[in-house]
Symmetry: C2
Subunit: 459 residues, 2 copies
Amino acid sequence: MSSSAVAYARQNQRRFLEELKGLLRIPSISTLAEHKRDVEKAANYVAAELGRIGMENVSVISTPGHPLIYADWLHAPGAPTGICYAHYDVQPPDPLGEWISPPFEPAERDDNLYARGAADDKGQLWMEVKAVEALMRAHNGKLPINVKFLLEGEEEVGGESIAAFVRKEKTKLKADFALVCDTELFAPDLPTLCVGLRGLVYTEIEAIGPKTDLHSGMYGGAAPNPFFALIQIISRLKDEKGFILIPDFYHGVKPPGAEELEAWSRLPFDEEDYRKAEIGSNALWGEPGFSVLYRTWARPTLDVHGMPGGFTAKGAKTVIPARARAKISMRLVPDQDPDDIAERYTSYVQKLAPRGVECNVKIWSKALPCLVPTDNKYVSAATEALGEVFHKDTVFIRSGGSIPIVSDFQDMLNIPSLMMGFGLPDDNLHAPNEKFHIPNFHRGIESICLLFEKLGASS
Amino acid sequence: MSSSAVAYARQNQRRFLEELKGLLRIPSISTLAEHKRDVEKAANYVAAELGRIGMENVSVISTPGHPLIYADWLHAPGAPTGICYAHYDVQPPDPLGEWISPPFEPAERDDNLYARGAADDKGQLWMEVKAVEALMRAHNGKLPINVKFLLEGEEEVGGESIAAFVRKEKTKLKADFALVCDTELFAPDLPTLCVGLRGLVYTEIEAIGPKTDLHSGMYGGAAPNPFFALIQIISRLKDEKGFILIPDFYHGVKPPGAEELEAWSRLPFDEEDYRKAEIGSNALWGEPGFSVLYRTWARPTLDVHGMPGGFTAKGAKTVIPARARAKISMRLVPDQDPDDIAERYTSYVQKLAPRGVECNVKIWSKALPCLVPTDNKYVSAATEALGEVFHKDTVFIRSGGSIPIVSDFQDMLNIPSLMMGFGLPDDNLHAPNEKFHIPNFHRGIESICLLFEKLGASS
C-alpha cells in the first residue's frame, strides 16, 4: 500500500466526511414531488465538486424526471475506461418519529454517520468522487485510467431517465467496465463483490367500491368494501408459505449453480443470529426448503408496502371507504422478465377482483434481474485492491435489491459492472436511522484508489 | 293540526335553522383528541339554549370522556315523563377533499343543509330543543308532559359515559319512555319509526413483524411482513360470500319473524335503484339468499375501515414495515352478545396470527343490538303525530346502525324508546357532503310538538 493517493486520502479524511455531510443535508427524496428542488440541489452540489477536483465536461443533464450528472477525464491513452456510477437520490425518511437524530441532520455516533442516504447511496457516491480527487492530487492532476462519471437521481424510483440516456448515448458512454458503489460488505471487515441482483416490479392496485364513503352500520352487508377486495386479491397472490400464485410466475427462474450455492454455504452466516440482529421478529419467514441467503438472493418474492385509504387516524370511524389502494412489489431473479411478470400480474389481479369492486393496476417501476461475469481483469484488480485494504480474501455474493443500471450497462454498453460496495448489513437502508460505518467510507475511497492504480499500471 | 306549538314553530323556522348552523360550525369530533375542546364547546352551546328556552336544572356533566348534558322540566303532574335523547358529537370529516362545501361551514343547497353532523345528529338534536321551545312558548311556559333531556358527546365513539350515567342515575332518569332522534325516514315523505338496531364491536389489530422498517430488496423472502399477516387473518374472518368464519359467531342470531319480514317486503324499495342511487358500485355485495334489507338490518357483518402503516404517500417505497394495523368492526344483531363476540374474535385472531408476527387486538367500543316493543301508547301517539304531519301511515323498520343508548334505556331504565328520526337514506352519514333535508328538520319539530301534546292530553 505505497499508494500516494491513499496517503492523500488519509490526510484528508475529516474534510471528506464533512463534505459528505453537506450532501446528506439536502433531502433529495426522489419519490416525493415536493422535494423536486432538493433533488436538483443535490445534483448541483455533486456537479460543482466534480468540477472543483478536475473532472471535465461536467454537466447536469435535465430529464423528464430528475437530472443526471455526467463528467469525464479521458487523458490516459491506452488505459481502460471506467464509468463511475452511484445515485444521489434517497428514500423518504418516514416514519420520522423513529429516528434518533433527524434524517437530514447527519450525526456521528460510535464510528457511524447517521443520515438518510448515508450508505444508500450518497456516502458511496462521495467515495468515488473523493477517490478520484485523491488520485488527481497524488498524480499531478492526472488519473491512472480514463474515468466517466454517470450519476443519477432516480434510483429509488426506477431509474427510467438513466436507462433512456444509456440507450441513446452509447458512444459517449463507451467504456470497458463500470464501477457501481451501491452494495454492501457481506460482514464487517469482509471484502465483498456483488455479482447478482434481483429485479423489481413495483405496482399499486386501486380498488373502487361505492361512489362515496358509506356508513358501515347503514350499508354493511350490502356495499362492497374495497379493502376486502384487496385482501381477497392479495391473499391469492402468495400462499402462506411464500409461494407466489400468479400463473407461470416461476417460468423463467434459473436456480444458482452447485458451485455458487456451495460458496454461499461457506459464508459466515447464522440464520438465528440474523433473525435476532437484523430482523428482530420472533421467527423468520419464507419458502421452506431454501436457506435465507437463497431466499433473499435467488428466489422471487412479493411484498405489500402500504394500504392507503379509509380511516387511519387514532380511534374509531365506521366507514366503508369508496376506494382503497395497495402498494405491492415483486422481486425477480434471473431470468424472469419484468415486462412479462407485470403483464401476468395485472391480468391475474383483474381476474381476482370480486364483483362490485373495480380494480386498476398501476406499474410504478420495473428493473431487470441480473448476474454479472467474474472472469475479467476488472474483477481481478478489484479483489487485489480489496485484499490490500482489508487483508482478507474477497467473497462473491448476490444482493436481493435491484440496481437497474447494472443490467443496462450489461445489455446496452456490453460492459461488466464491478459492484463494489461498502455498506453493512445493519445499515438500515430505506428505514429509520440509516447509517454508514465511517471506517468503511475511508476504506472505500482507498479501495477505489488502488483499483484504478492497478488497472492503470497493467495497461 | 290546530296546534299552537306547531304554529309557533312555523313562524320561527328561519331562526331555528340559523341557530342550528351555529351548532354545526363547532367541529365536535369525538374520536379525535385534538377536538376535545370543540366537543366541550358544542355541549355548552346546547346547554345554554336549554336554559334560555326554560328548561330547569341544566347541567353539563363531566365524564372521563366527553360531557353529558342533563336538563328537566317536571311540572306536569299526572302526565308521562319522556327522556329526549340525541348526541352533539360528530364523525371525522375526512376525506376533506371530497366535500363540496367545507364540513364545518353549513351551506344551504336545494332545500338541504350541508355540514358534518347536519343529520347525524346535531340537526335532530336541535329538533328536540326547538320543539320544546315551541311547546313552552305556545303553552305559557308549560309543557304538556314532563321532559328530561339527556344528550351525549360520545355516540360516535361508543357512548361509554352515558351508559355508566344511566346505570348510576336510575332515579334521576326515572321516566316512561325515551324519544331518540337519530334515525331516518325509510323514504322521503314516509313517516318511519325504527324498532331495531344492530350492535357493534369495533376493533383494531396491530401486527408487529421486524423490529424496524426493512428494505424489501435486502430482506424480502426472510422478514415477516405484518401486512401479509393482517391479510391472511382478515381473509379468514369472512368468506367471499360474506359469511363470517369466527367460530360460533352466529350462535345468538335470532331471525326476524315472518310478519316482520312480510312488512319489509311491502316497503317501497328496489335493490337496483338502491345500488345505483346509494351505493354507486357496479354490483351489490353480501350473503346470497338474503334481501338487502335483511342483510343490512338483521344479519351481522364485518368490515375493514382502514389499514394504517407502511408507506402510503404517492409513489414507490420498497419497505417491509415493522408494524401495520387494521381497523375492523362487526355489526351484531339480536341476540348476539358484544362481550362474547369480542372474546371469540380476539382469540380467533390470535390463533390465526402467523409465525413471526405478533398480533395485539384492541377493542375500541361495543354496543348491544336491540329490538324495541311497539305495543304501547307512546308508539300509538307517535304514529298519530307523524300521520298528521306527513298524511301517511307510519312504517316500522330496523336500522343497520348502532345506538347503544336504546339498549341501555331498555335494560337499565326499563322504558321503551321511540326511535323517531327524520334523516334520509342519502344523507351521507359518516361520509363527505353529509346533509339534512331542511323540510324534514321542520317536520321533525312539528311531529315532536304533536307527540308531546297527544301524550299530555291522553293522561
